[in-house]
Symmetry: C2
Subunit: 356 residues, 2 copies
């Protein structure tokens, strides 16, 4: 049994603020009884919501601040105005000083990442942060990272993402050696792919607790070919949004097809339970929550437009990460990997000696 | 009425070679009677296929060569072995010397692009080539480029892609001022996006025959928010493949849901025609065919695994491009754009003078 975990919540984040975040925490508490909550934000707005959930009230402390980061604030603005004083910052700070096991916010991604880097600092040995998302697949779920924290291709960054991703897969899925693939395109010998190939080489030679399967392509993500898909942030974000768009498109086609004729409408009525289970399978709330990786603390970004159910799912994701000691796993594996790379560099130097 | 168009066909390309390419041309001829065909490849394999289609035979010349580029050949290998002598090269060469209005191949993309650059050369004023694809959307179809020819973000390349994309949209959709969007991610102030922002600025100031709407995100592609979506090749290819994967995933969920219970199976039977129309809407053959842009000639890449229907669709795409004078449109618009950029640079220099 893990110890009780305290969760610090930026209650003001997201399109709906406390009305979703407080209700989401109440739902999460039902499913995760050994949790406590630090609800950070405007007391006048939090208290009425909290009053609706007596169980949550018993297990929560409210930390008041008037200042909230806006959904459209640029990261630099958010830092200027909100550092030390905003609900977002104060929620992160509770993780920094050990009062909370993780922080969660539905606030804007850029601001949250910028503040998290300030409040928590980067882990030693990690070159760049990443946002990892959960992707529903035909085989269950996969982890895809980076979703938009770090733009541009550099082999060291990609290798760091792979290490953090496999550690997260072990923590979340409980697999001893998760499979890891590097996202690539099926065109050989194009300039600009050199860094992806260099990362491929380094992962092939690694001693990490994972099964590196090599390159995968965009259509492998949804098929669940690997547990962890690694790519840089621009293409990762585009892949995520494109998949969301395609799912919406399919749903719209299906709706219009089922309304086409009287027979198809009748067929729809008969198969209603099947359509309901299809809808549940495609429900984006189930996979809500991005995990910020590479920082000295766990931060969960919930979708800004999600509801109670989605927010509760993001809380549960953070709970899994914290109770399964994600940060220790990442740190151990990074050390392992660095030692291996140094050893390999030394042995290749020795091999070269005779020819000198 | 456009003049008769001659189409040079790399008959050996693709997973199935002449059995698909020849049958595909026969299908295309039924729909486009004012075409002629140069079928390039192994006569011994082409002739038996051609004999099945007497109408096509009347309108075709067969150009024999023993040498074909393999589906797994690297571009450099393909060039070394296949330059001047392979069916792929000879099909491209017919465009270079004016015997054909466009070339089509289902051979491997990397080799085809490498050979096309050699055989046709880049257009003056174009910095990098692009592959444009047709994307089925909720509003009809959009053009997405680049799909994998040019990796890496450079504002000049992105602007060139926008010019070529709007010209293609005018040729294909017959819209006077197609809407154009630049693919971006919803995170502000991240390093690595400077080139995307620079391209945004340049497109906003342009005098091109298009309606530039600014940034779009991945989920806008399937919604059909704009007629033309511009991005660099890595993310474009990943977006395409991810959408394909998501569509397959949805189809698999739907199949299994409709088999869940007796009622859902009955519902499926009643709504069969609706499911058939849904399947047609999602049929990837309808949007088969990538257009190589930036070269002194039109080249169409058909999917390697497509069938007659898909190959015929790719032929029809090339026909539209050639008969609507795509190259002239691109060339005119590039000149227009260059002149505008020079003028703007000069006027901004003049504005700066007083402060010197």
């Amino acid at each position: 049994m893990p110890d009780q975990i305290t969760i610090s919540v930026d209650a003001m984040g997201g399109d709906s603020g406390p009305s979703v975040s407080v209700a989401g925490c109440a739902l999460a508490l039902q499913r995760l009884p050994d949790t406590r909550f630090l609800l950070v934000g405007d007391q006048a707005k939090i208290m009425p919501e909290l009053a609706k959930f007596p169980e949550l009230q018993k297990k929560s402390d409210v930390i008041h601040t008037d200042i909230a980061v806006g959904m459209d604030d640029k990261p630099s603005q958010a830092l200027r105005r909100g550092r030390r004083v905003s609900s977002m910052w104060m929620a992160l700070n509770a993780v920094a000083d050990g009062r909370a096991g993780f922080a969660i916010s539905a606030g804007n991604t850029g601001a949250l990442m910028a503040m998290a880097r300030f409040a928590l600092k980067m882990m030693p040995n990690v070159s760049r942060p990443a946002i990892a998302g959960i992707w529903p697949t035909l085989r269950g779920e996969s982890i895809v990272l980076d979703m938009g924290a770090t733009i541009g291709v550099d082999s060291r960054w990609l290798v760091d993402f792979a290490v953090m991703g496999e550690a997260m897969a072990r923590a979340l899925f409980g697999i001893e050696r998760p499979s890891v693939g590097l996202l690539n395109i099926g065109v050989e010998e194009v300039k600009g792919l050199d860094e992806v190939k260099a990362a491929h080489q380094r992962l092939r030679d690694s001693n990490l607790p994972m099964r590196y399967v090599g390159f995968v392509e965009g259509d492998d993500i949804g098929q669940g070919t690997v547990d962890v898909v690694v790519t840089e942030g621009f293409s990762g974000n585009i892949a995520l949004k494109t998949a969301e768009g395609t799912a919406k498109q399919f749903a719209a086609y299906l709706r219009s097809a089922m309304n086409e004729t009287i027979l198809s409408r009748l067929g729809y009525l008969l198969a209603r339970s099947a359509f309901k289970s299809l809808k549940e399978k495609m429900d984006p709330r189930r996979s809500n929550g991005g995990v910020f990786l590479g920082l000295n603390g766990i931060v969960i970004k919930s979708h800004g437009g999600t509801d109670n159910e989605g927010f509760a799912a993001a809380v549960a994701l953070g709970y899994e990460m914290a109770s399964n000691k994600l940060l220790e796993k990442i740190s151990t594996d990074l050390d392992l990997h660095r030692a291996n790379e140094i050893e390999m560099a030394e042995s290749s130097n020795e091999e070269e000696k005779p020819s000198q």
